[in-house]
Symmetry: C2
Subunit: 142 residues, 2 copies
């Protein structure tokens, strides 16, 4: 029996390896150079090299030269990479609420002026997309 096909599994094939999401976190934070990512994530250099290569190859990051002499590169988000920020936010929210103990290392303020409390809502009605509020929508879209 073959395991189920699933977009979550497909997504994890791309970003589920150790250090990938934390590398992206650093780029979200504006730290785009190799050594910054190494230092802030704790990843070993060889694994991070492989991870960044894959994130570039799968279209989440682009490698840009920011200095010709000496040649220096940084990693920039693509739209695909930026779209993962939603996952990052919800993972951070869960980590804040249920894992991290003591003072929160990072608190965001939203542009409306309040401390950010992120919610996942339905784009149509604005109500929360809770587990209980969802049903399968019949046939898969073709």
């Amino acid at each position: 029996m073959a395991p189920r096909t699933c977009s979550v599994a497909n997504a994890l094939d791309v970003v589920g390896e150790r250090w990938s999401l934390l590398a992206l976190r650093e780029v979200f934070f504006g730290n785009t150079r190799f050594d910054q990512i190494v230092a802030n994530t704790g990843a070993s250099r060889d694994v991070l090299t492989v991870r960044l290569k894959k994130l570039v190859a799968t279209g989440l990051l682009e490698k840009h030269q920011y200095s010709e002499h000496p040649p220096r590169h940084e990693y920039q988000l693509t739209d695909t990479g930026r779209a993962l920020h939603n996952v990052f936010l919800m993972l951070k929210e869960w980590g804040d609420d249920y894992v991290t103990q003591g003072p929160l290392p990072l608190v965001y303020q939203h542009s409306c002026g309040h401390v950010l409390e992120p919610r996942v809502v339905c784009a149509h009605c604005g109500e929360e997309a809770t587990l209980e509020s969802l049903s399968r929508a019949g046939e898969p879209t073709h």
Copy 2:
């Protein structure tokens, strides 16, 4: 230099290992028994055993006996576990949009009647919490 503390890293310490999120996916879908999770995820039995034990130990799942003769167990979500559904939804959304090719394996309908299009919004103002709309909120909360 020590890597940064971060709730995302803390969260990944709990659910970032191979198969953990997919095991939870099965429980979200209502498949709560060991063999169902094995079959639908593709995880090997020994790794899944270890993963489920950890998800129970860290409070995301509870192991309940559903049959005394013979003794049979199932895994149920706790509130902590259920709260990860938001991460699941945003990961699925990203996977749907950027990774999965061809027909989507699963499409949700929201209780409002529309096909679900999940968004991450600020609970206060209802506007989207985009990367650009966030700033650090000064000192960490104590």
